[in-house]
């Protein structure tokens, strides 16, 4: 089987590869002499870090780490950049919020070492395929005042990454490389170039005058950032081949031109093909600072301009300003950004674009009659099954949810108190949805423990925070210490599955260092020891200890007992549920598939309609376990009231 190394690193210049956008970004980094990559995993950005972690020792990079959170990732990256390294840092859109505090200072610093270059890779997720919120990170570019590039496919991911390093090295500004899900996670042909060795030197200059954000130096550096470095960036943008006009000489009867960038560009081409419409397209790759002169000269040629971009009207509002400044009177179509009106906006602020949405907007502008009736097709609705995202078969969170359900029923019937749940970011978020519905308030990474305090400090209910181990390390720790210090009567459930499960089982500081390649070089943090040190009441329960056929019963009793203590004695309790992510567990353990004894099964449905294991269904009036889905967690065997579930013999 082709290893990641062979796939990404090997191959002579000119060879064609079928790369994900994210794989092409890795290759682009390697072709830029990359020394350091730091990241926090988050869909759709994670593959870049996973690949670098796998290969960095073999390709001779200086350092790669999956940092504890994005703030730390960008700080490690920032100082490596200051000291002369070629650095990239990666995260998803909301990660940039976490990293934004240090980035504001970092953006202004001006390293003195010639090799210093820093690229900030940010992957947005319009349509929030895998995100709790939808967020357009381009809005940060005006705050940070740093250059940014946006590729539209895998080949551009490689090339734009290389350009970003070149710009950063030359200007001594960090450069943002912004993608979206349909670029990072799309796969297409990529012609690879030559891998470049790192040129990092061991003597470097860390002068405080250019690296310290303080009253002594900051305003001067900020002036330099804006009037010198960003001014140079603007000149680059004006003449950059990353901004180009396609169909330059084409004319249409509507005197219509199109301005777009990123993946929207590819949708525009499809929409124009569909409508058999020709129009010049200004494709912006250098998205900050925008090339004002180029845009103005483009605008001058048309009576109507259609700006096509996903989410916020980042380009559109700037195009409007450029038109005004240049005294141009033309109609600019897009989102009608100042109206906040769905009726007048041709493209949505919310959700992903696609060629169909753009075609429909173009039809409104041009009144072209399309060859097929798109509205009629969109109107076709068939009866589909409501398949919702579900936890894997064998997922420990399902077991915890099941035990928690039983425990709270018992607490409610004993005390009559209301119980509220505060959720966090992880696979266990799925417990927030029916039929379980363990969620009253949920915001972002690490917020559950503080959210629980907000109700507990003002009301006599039982407030339960649910957080995973990865998220706890990421940003749950300060909130827990806040709760302990303020004597918040809350129950904290840390669902410790050992890994950052949702994004593909990446390790975090608490992961068992024996079970991942980089672990040889790490010192694992013992979560239990850490918690004991905080002075909180801490209970640990392990799935792999004690009688496994009594696990959910033990878990239920523990939650019941500690929940009552929170209510009665107003103590803060932490329960750590140690039950490994099934996707990792099966890598080191033989899967013992369960099967139904049809003689004993009375089809009570507990396993498939209450426990809701997706590997179990009903067939011929008994429960049926799909052997290709069962991952052998064995919880069904424990909870079956008729002892009708058996395990495969080893």
């Amino acid at each position: 089987m082709a290893t990641i190394y062979n796939k990404i690193v090997k191959g002579n210049p000119g060879v064609e590869r079928f790369f994900l956008g994210n794989e092409a970004i890795v290759r682009g980094g390697l072709e830029s002499g990359l020394d350091v990559y730091t990241f926090y995993p988050g869909t759709p950005s994670s593959e870049v870090g996973e690949i670098f972690l796998e290969i960095f020792r073999d390709v001779g990079m200086k350092w790669v780490e999956s940092s504890i959170n994005e703030k730390v990732a960008i700080e490690v990256a920032g100082a490596a950049y200051a000291r002369g390294a070629t650095v990239m840092v990666g995260m998803k859109n909301v990660g940039l919020n976490v990293a934004s505090d240090p980035l504001l200072a970092l953006a202004t610093t001006r390293p003195k070492n010639s090799n210093s270059a820093l690229v900030i890779f940010v992957a947005d997720d319009p349509q929030q395929h895998s995100s709790a919120v939808e967020m357009d990170s381009r809005n940060y570019l005006k705050l940070f005042k740093i250059p940014a590039l946006e590729p539209s496919n895998s080949q551009e991911c490689l090339e734009f990454t290389k350009r970003a390093f070149k710009i950063s090295r030359e200007l001594k500004l960090p450069v943002v490389l912004r993608t979206v899900t349909m670029v990072s996670h799309a796969r297409s042909n990529v012609v690879i170039g030559e891998i470049k060795r790192s040129e990092i030197a061991d003597d470097f200059d860390l002068s405080r005058e250019v690296n310290v954000a303080s009253r002594l130096y900051f305003l001067e550096l900020k002036e330099d950032q804006i009037y010198n470095r960003m001014n140079q960036a603007l000149k680059m943008s004006e003449s950059s081949s990353l901004n180009r006009i396609e169909n330059e000489d084409v004319k249409n009867e509507y005197e219509l031109g199109i301005i777009t960038s990123g993946v929207s560009y590819s949708y525009v081409r499809e929409a124009l093909d569909f409508l058999e419409l020709s129009a010049p397209i200004l494709k912006i790759g250098f998205i900050n600072p925008l090339p004002e002169k180029l845009i103005a000269s483009f605008l001058k040629r048309f009576k109507q301009i259609f700006v096509v971009e996903e989410n916020d009207p980042y380009l559109e509002t700037q195009v409007m300003a450029i038109a005004q400044k240049n005294g141009l009177n033309l109609k600019i179509y897009g989102k009608d950004p100042f109206s906040y009106s769905k009726e007048t906006s041709l493209l949505p602020f919310v959700g992903e674009l696609n060629p169909t949405k753009i075609s429909l907007a173009l039809i409104k502008i041009t009144h072209i009659a399309p060859k097929i009736d798109l509205n009629q097709i969109e109107g076709k609705k068939y009866k589909i099954l409501g398949r919702k995202p579900i936890l894997c078969p064998g997922c420990p969170h399902r077991t915890t949810g099941y035990a928690l359900q039983k425990a709270i029923t018992k607490i409610k019937s004993k005390t009559g108190k209301e119980i509220y749940f505060f959720q966090d970011i992880g696979c266990y978020t799925l417990l927030a949805f029916p039929p379980i519905s363990f969620a009253n308030v949920k915001y972002c990474m690490g917020s559950s423990i503080a959210l629980a305090q907000g109700v507990a400090q003002t009301n006599g209910s039982l407030n339960i925070a649910i957080i995973g181990d990865g998220t706890f390390f990421h940003s749950g720790i300060p909130a827990l210490l806040n709760g302990i210090y303020n004597k918040a009567p809350i129950l904290v459930l840390i669902l410790d599955n050992g890994w950052i499960g949702m994004t593909g089982q990446q390790p975090h500081p608490g992961s068992d260092t024996r079970y991942y390649k980089e672990g040889n070089f790490k010192k694992g943090i013992n979560l239990e020891d850490f918690l004991q040190g905080t002075g909180a009441y801490v209970s640990i329960i392990r799935h792999d200890e004690g009688n496994e056929k009594e696990y959910t019963a033990r878990l239920k009793e523990l939650i019941y007992e500690k929940g009552l203590d929170v209510l009665e004695k107003q103590n803060l309790h932490v329960i750590v549920v140690k039950d490994e992510c099934i996707q990792e567990y099966i890598k080191r353990h033989k899967v013992r598939v369960r099967h139904i004894d049809v003689e004993l099964c009375n089809n009570c449905g507990l396993c498939y309609s209450q426990f809701l294991c997706p590997a179990i269904n009903e067939k011929d009036d008994v429960a049926y376990i799909n052997s290709s889905l069962c991952l052998g967690c064995g919880i069904c065997e424990e909870i079956c009231p008729n002892n009708a579930i058996n395990r495969e013999e080893l």
């Binding site: 082709a2 796969r187 042909n189 696609n354 169909t356 097929i372 409501g386 398949r387 269904n617 290709s628």
Partner: protein
């Protein structure tokens, strides 16, 4: 240059190996000189949630998401999933619908009836092909996980690819026992009538 392209929509459930299927097919097409793009839309579910993927190839790189009413082939690796993507079928009913006979039911929801399904499919296409991929995988290949590769073998007849091209691509993706299973599944799908 006019855009001469072929678009396939693939739908199924998370955990069925759709992403591998895209890679195997895409790699083979790229090696044969096509510009290929694949994309997938799936939520945070690893297993069981609905997944819709696109694969497009031609003389120019297409967009990751195609126009509705414009695709050449739609593959459903679970039968009822086809109902969710029919807006991609061409109104002239020429789109090929390749549908696995596999049914994954959901507790407390009525699975679409055969009668309903058939009538809807005939509304949308004159080229409907049912493939008993799961049965073939279970009975002939002896491995349920190879069902998608059976479908891959089946659709070969409609694509500008040779069986050997896909075999090469499978070799890049799998090794050892997994490779043997998938090569067998490809063969079984290929010879299916």
């Amino acid at each position: 240059m006019t855009f001469d392209s072929y678009t396939i929509v693939i739908t199924g459930l998370g955990g069925q190996g759709l992403i591998s299927l895209l890679q195997i097919l895409g790699n083979a097409l790229m090696t044969n000189g096509h510009k290929v793009i694949t994309a997938e839309t799936h939520g945070l579910s690893q297993r069981g949630g609905r997944v819709i993927c696109f694969l497009r190839f031609g003389n120019r790189l297409g967009a990751p998401i195609p126009m509705i009413g414009s695709t050449d082939m739609i593959i459903a690796t679970e039968k009822s999933c086809i109902l969710d993507v029919l807006k991609f079928a061409k109104p002239n009913k020429s789109t090929k619908l390749i549908i696995s006979t596999d049914e994954k039911k959901i507790i407390n929801e009525d699975y679409p009836s055969e009668k309903y399904l058939i009538s809807v499919l005939h509304e949308n296409s004159d080229n409907i092909y049912f493939v008993p991929a799961t049965e073939i995988a279970e009975n002939l290949v002896k491995n349920l996980k190879a069902a998608n590769t059976v479908i891959l073998g089946y659709i070969l007849r409609f694509l500008p690819l040779k069986k050997e091209d896909l075999e090469e691509s499978l070799k890049r993706q799998f090794s050892g026992e997994n490779l043997d299973i998938n090569l067998k599944a490809l063969k079984e799908g290929h010879k299916l009538q």
